[in-house]
Amino acid sequence: MSEMIAIRNLTKDFGQIRAVDNVSFSVSRGEVLGFLGPNGAGKSTTMKMITGYLTPTSGTAVVCGHDVLENPVAVKRCIGYLPEGAPAYPDMTPAAFLDFIAAVRGLRGAEKAKRIGLAVERVQLKDVLHQSIETLSKGFKRRVGLAQAMLHDPEVLILDEPTDGLDPNQKHEVRTLIRDMARDKAIIISTHILEEVDAVCTRAVIIAKGRIVADGTPAELEARSRWHNAVSIVLSAPKVASCRAALQRISGIGSIEEIQGKDNLTCLVAFPVNGQPIITQISEIARNAEFGIEEVRVERGRLDEVFRNITTARA
């Protein structure tokens, strides 16, 4: 069974407000799905329905072959879930907390000790194991939540903003961790940090106002950007006019923009027509010594721009 999570027409109303509107997608083993969207778009609500916390108004989710409406306990058993904000019992120590979760997850004896040890090692909790959770920093609390989610080596991981509140080093560690686990699991992470999508996700679903507005690989999404295949040329300010004239003679270029840089340098950005590659034509200009070009760079496309465009277009 490669399709581990199948979400079918999931809808959730809170009174008059439709928080999630007919959302369907599926996640297979080996995939890391980035679930993106502005705050309040319905990401967390969707995750709460998949994990059996909230009951959908209509539609359902099937996880590891179990329908969350018919057999919620079986679904919960095969999911590791990090809820938003990584809640944990403040009075407990991480050691006691993980022991409790492991017990409820049906682990015992040597197996339990081994699993807890492994999780503690992977998120580096060793130093704070016996200190109450309320005294821990945000980063450590998040790691306690992650350890709890992966404790029983679940087939499906659902992580709501796993790197929120972590410093850059910790973010890097968590991303590495997610990539390591990705091979034999199906993972959904929600985030609004777009670089994260590039760093860990094999696929991205963008949601706005409760509806899916885009679904594709990060590269596919980037290709939707105006910046996709655009070329940035950095050169000294006095040469801008002549270089610009030369660029304008290339047929594939739709528009040219100037961005003022530091140290008397200017960046000229040539945007292609329909995202077609234009670097070959431009490289001839770049080779011409008279323009004194310092740097030429092909843009891949900007996720943040795509994100802004498609999430605000519907608003």
Binding site: G52, I79, P83, P87, A88, F100, V104, Q148
Partner: protein, 244 residues
């Protein structure tokens, strides 16, 4: 059932992780002792029994039990751990029962710690230990009733203070529903059947019956069904309030 016990163990440890447990135990023991000896005239009565000890339990419970039950669900909702808790592979009934049993076990510990009184009365005279045991059973059952109400009220709100006040109010009504305070209000204009029904809901009536040493099946059924009803309501409220 195994999951229920795991939850119970965690909750019970939770009481002792904070000063709450110790403050409660000290106050409970001090007050129950003071009531027994001063208000209950333990020595002056000159009888080898613990009637003067048990008589005050409903009134002690009235403000001490809500303090135990108030945190059960409202704290989970306040810290957001309820989302973690209810996405663990446990059923709602295991979750509700596990928490209730922890609170109940805690009151049982408090009751057991009153054993010096039992020793005292056995040194001073020859009490009927069967009656005393019945008194303890009745007291524990009544505590269970208070706790079930408290657990249900705790699920209604994120605020422990509100949970405390509402629980105390409802428990008060249940406690005094057999007393003239409530019944006089109804006599004269309501049918006797209704008055009897209201009176039959009284904690005091059922508790006094048991603590006199008569463990009647009707009293057991009363407390059992009261606990079951409020725990059921508890599960419904938890389920309803998840979105909020």
């Amino acid at each position: 059932m195994r999951n229920t016990l795991i939850i119970t163990r965690r909750e019970l440890a939770g009481y002792f992780a904070t000063p709450v447990a110790y403050v409660f135990l000290v106050i409970f023991l001090a007050l129950s002792g003071a009531f027994t000896f001063y208000l209950g005239n333990f020595f002056e009565r000159g009888q080898a029994d613990l009637q003067s000890f048990f008589t005050f339990h409903p009134w002690l419970y009235l403000f001490l039990i809500p303090a135990i039950s108030m945190r059960l669900w409202s704290e989970e909702r306040k810290t957001g751990t309820i989302e973690l808790f209810l996405t663990l592979p446990i059923s709602m009934y295991e979750a509700v029962l596990g928490k209730f049993l922890a609170a109940w076990a805690f009151t049982a510990i408090a009751l057991v710690l009153t054993f010096p009184l039992w020793i005292t009365v056995n040194i001073l005279g020859n009490p009927d230990n069967g009656v005393i045991l019945a008194g303890y059973v009745g007291s524990l059952l009544m505590a269970g009733g208070f706790l079930a109400i408290g657990a249900c009220m705790s699920a209604i709100t994120k605020s422990q203070v509100i949970a405390f006040v509402i629980t105390a109010a409802i428990c008060f009504i249940f406690t005094v529903s057999g007393s003239p305070l409530v019944l006089n209000f109804f006599t004269g204009w309501t049918p006797q059947v209704l008055i009897d029904t209201i009176a039959s809901f009284s904690f005091l009536t059922h508790f006094n019956a048991i603590s006199r040493g008569v463990i009647d099946l009707r009293d057991l059924i009363y407390f059992g069904s009261l606990i079951a009803a409020f725990l059921f309501a508890n599960a419904v409220v938890v389920d309803m309030k998840k979105a909020g």
